[in-house]
Symmetry: D2
Subunit: 324 residues, 4 copies
């Protein structure tokens, strides 16, 4: 019932075996109809090996949250990455699976793919996603050749005990005009807040994004038109489906940059919690490219933002009907 | 007392004369000491010309919020851009002026500059800002030659009745370790939410940002070190001062992309609120490069996010002391 | 346009002359149609006499917030009672005036009256309010004899330079079934939170309230019935229109207890901010019975709670239509 | 580790056997130190008998939330009372058990007792609680004779297949001056909101409460004094430890009225979900006096409100230390 955040158990992802079994605690009647009550669930870790983390005790892993957590909370549970573990994303994926079913009822669809891994870039990812082209095999990129090149970059990084960054692009179609609030909760600000809460995310852009900074106003303009039936359309989508913070009926397009997985399997110099120099060899089961696994998480978070925006727009009723 | 959002009344910015007089309504004792009560203020529009907007009545300006507001609220006050007007930013600048004084008390400083206008880019803006180099003349870019090239791009766009995009880069120094929350309110997510609520913002990145997607893990690593006094430092700042959503004591670095001003002074085809084709000639007093004016707004919003994060961190007392 | 919180400028209320002129800053088009944007307004104090408060400087008035504010904020603006002044209620009355127009559109009506002043009690206030009987003359009690006795109690207290407590009872009719949330935001909890934020409020009860504690279950039962048209009704209203935290379609009934005005015009022993014994003679213009003035405030707060509950119930659209 | 909400498994309370086993899911290190991360737990229902509820299917129980929930959500899970079941209070008791340990660290203590059952009243409950007198035997009333009379009222009601109301009084001692916010989150408003979210609560009062409405200002006055050490004290506590919404250092005193248990074991007339008249015989395992069981819930909720107020007061650090 619930999409996994494991989009392809190919060799590019970590060998950790987690069946991610979801136990629902509340929110449904026996015949799977939602009751309007909070939906509670647990996904227990099935395959933890605290031993993998034993060697890290008291040492700060670079680019991890070990140091900041310790300073913030005065205590740090080093096992499994603690609260900053990407295991957190499993609950987003479950939430997103439910949210997706709600938005599907009014015709909203979300698709996402890898648009960059290291030096390999997929050009025009939004157009490709909108064309309905599906991801090749088990790897979340819909262009066969680009997918192959991305895989190669990941394998090469892994071979060198290194990791590599990537970008995820996402398109939301079918959203009605009017979602998002004018000032503090602009639709793209809500999306950014959600996407940048995913582990390893470093940047967010929507529509033409950072490319906008290089454009002239005359190049960036989305002109209004109306079709034969009097429906208002736009002749282009530089705005990414959002104007003044509010959805304009065009596809909502955005991308999220992810840094390379911070865990690399080399011995590196660091310090311990006493500030003394030490060495650290990270082991464990980590993906060489966290962006690969981020694709379903981006989709899930987007679905939840859309549901929130629909509720805030106060327009589509109480969602009382069964959606599962 | 309050920094203006008008950083240089040179010819690059619009000729609108707004003195932005702030009337404080509450929050201070007669001797300007804050009372712990809400600080209320008004900045009245001094120089509005609704006539400039009369010609727009019932027509949708491209890349503006006219259409989305009308669809969302069923009514649209076309005068002055209504609520989507960048006049909104004046209250952020006032709030930021107060916030800046609070954070200055614990040594937090914020500086920002233009790092791109169209094709002209300032390389390494964070390093330049951290070097303490100040903006050249009245234009918010600290490199004389780059500033000159940026001005030229803006003037050229204006000459063609066009507008141009730009990027603002910002550095926050002196922030203590531990600001930001681990999941939903990561410090960079709060910054993104705030920055993307500024008019015309299209993207946000922190640290190495979108460049991270092209990096190997071994390139992106910020290694821990300790100085002779046992203070923990990092040997680089790819992370942009934030790890796991929490400040790590290094400078916090981020950039915001702004699209070209949507108003350009040409006659363009559009439709009216009946869906009928029409023409539109935008007049009024608009900056050809909104990013120029965005610099003090970015600084102001950053200051407010830092105060919010300090309060959430629950660590620096009640800010009872007079800060003005 | 806006109901005053001055229900009868008779001699029972303080001689302070405040015209309570409301200046609206935002939220309306020129033809008084709401725009969906925030409604901002100011009511400036017209008739302040800081001199009345000069004698209080550095002395703690009993049952006022002087001491607690000073300890909480480290500073206290003694003039006019500062932020704990009942002047705060003027903004509630303005908000309530707008909220009342929204709820009137769907048939919700609110009435309230004094149900006790000192020893004088109005029995069955909810029934009397529901009968549509209006307040006698300029005094907010619909029973002529009881009103007269209440006035007498107030005059007697005033004559002795004393003050007196009272209770306000309120009935909300026409509310649809389904307002209020099941756990944390039960409708009666929202009402209580709002009512107990009014100055001098000491207690809140709904339906049979504290009397319920003396009842048997068989006495307190509201049995279901259906009329000839199949509409569901209840044969009594011990529940006060709310069951399980959610409105059940019956009139919502509640009462709020107010303590005597804490300012009494006698010389009393107290201490100063150094902890030294001193004497204090309170002057100024204060009502001997704050409950009298609380009647329109209770109504206003009730109207705002109903609008909030309607919005939370996500059922009655976006209130786009003009309501003023 | 966790106080039960079952204060005396005597025959006054329902024979349902629920061991209320708490499984903690997160928030603690292996040696029971809190980590600053959310504390998650589950208490599974051990002894549910849906069969008890089978006869109720489609019939509205008077004074229950069956009808309001059905109308609000369009669906109602009749088994076990669904979400309006008092089983909800078990999570409050767990939360309160943790909150109690936090506040105990700074000397805040909470005690509560039954102060009324039907006609039997405990006079001056706050004084008795402050005297440290403990509840008699297994029944939550510290006066032996009154406790006996209360038990008798409950047994008599039960014998008649009826139920009975009651009042719980609570005292919080050791709270510092300065908790609570001046307007919307007055300390007593927060307490009221919390207490009135407990099942069957009908009223809340603090300090002299509803009695205040009968008082003169000169009777209700709490005069300031200072002891030999210069500490500020008050000569009485009519205010119930809160002035202007903010704690004043005196004991915080409040009472909550509870209606009789709505389930009584008689055959009553009601209607079904088609609006047709029907009869209903409620069975199951219900306490004849819900107020008895409410005592530990009131204490738990009070503890959580105090922790929230401490956090909001931003004064006592980050509670990093181990509290369990």
């Amino acid at each position: 019932m619930v999409n996994s955040r494991r989009p392809g158990q190919s060799k590019e992802v970590s060998p950790r075996k987690e069946n991610d079994l979801v136990e629902f605690l509340s929110g449904f009647s026996p015949d799977s109809v939602t009751l309007g009550t909070p939906i509670g669930f647990i996904v227990r870790n099935q395959d933890t090996r605290s031993s993998d983390y034993e060697a890290l005790k008291g040492k700060f892993r670079p680019n991890h949250a070990d140091y900041t957590y310790l300073k913030k909370y005065g205590i740090h549970d080093f096992r499994g990455g603690g609260r900053s573990s990407a295991r957190d994303t499993v609950s987003r994926v479950v939430g997103g699976a439910i949210a997706s079913q709600i938005i599907a009822k009014i015709g909203i669809k979300i698709d996402a793919c890898l648009s960059r891994v290291g030096k390999t870039e997929l050009t025009n990812p939004y157009d490709i996603l909108m064309s309905g082209k599906k991801a090749f095999d088990s790897f979340p990129c819909p262009d066969k050749d680009i997918a192959e090149a991305m895989r190669r970059e990941i394998m090469n990084a892994a071979k060198e005990h290194d990791s590599i960054g990537g970008t995820v692009s996402c398109v939301i179609t079918g959203a009605p005009v009017g979602l998002g609030e004018p000032l503090a909760h602009k639709l793209h600000a809500l999306l950014a807040e959600s996407m940048l809460s995913i582990n390893a995310a470093k940047g967010f852009e929507y529509g033409d994004g950072f490319k906008s900074a290089m454009q002239l106003g005359s190049e960036a303009m989305d002109c209004f038109n109306s079709d034969n039936n009097g429906n208002i359309t736009l002749t282009s989508n530089h705005s990414g489906g959002i104007q003044g913070g509010i959805s304009n009926g065009m596809p909502i397009t955005f991308s999220v940059a992810f840094k390379p997985t911070p865990t690399i399997f080399r011995t590196i110099k660091t310090i311990d919690s006493n500030g003394e120099p030490t060495e650290l060899t990270m082991t464990g089961r980590h993906d060489p490219c966290v962006a690969v696994r981020a694709v379903p998480v981006v989709k899930a978070c987007a679905a939840m933002v859309m549901v929130d925006a629909l509720i805030a727009a106060n327009k589509y009723g109480t969602f009382n009907e069964s959606v599962l």
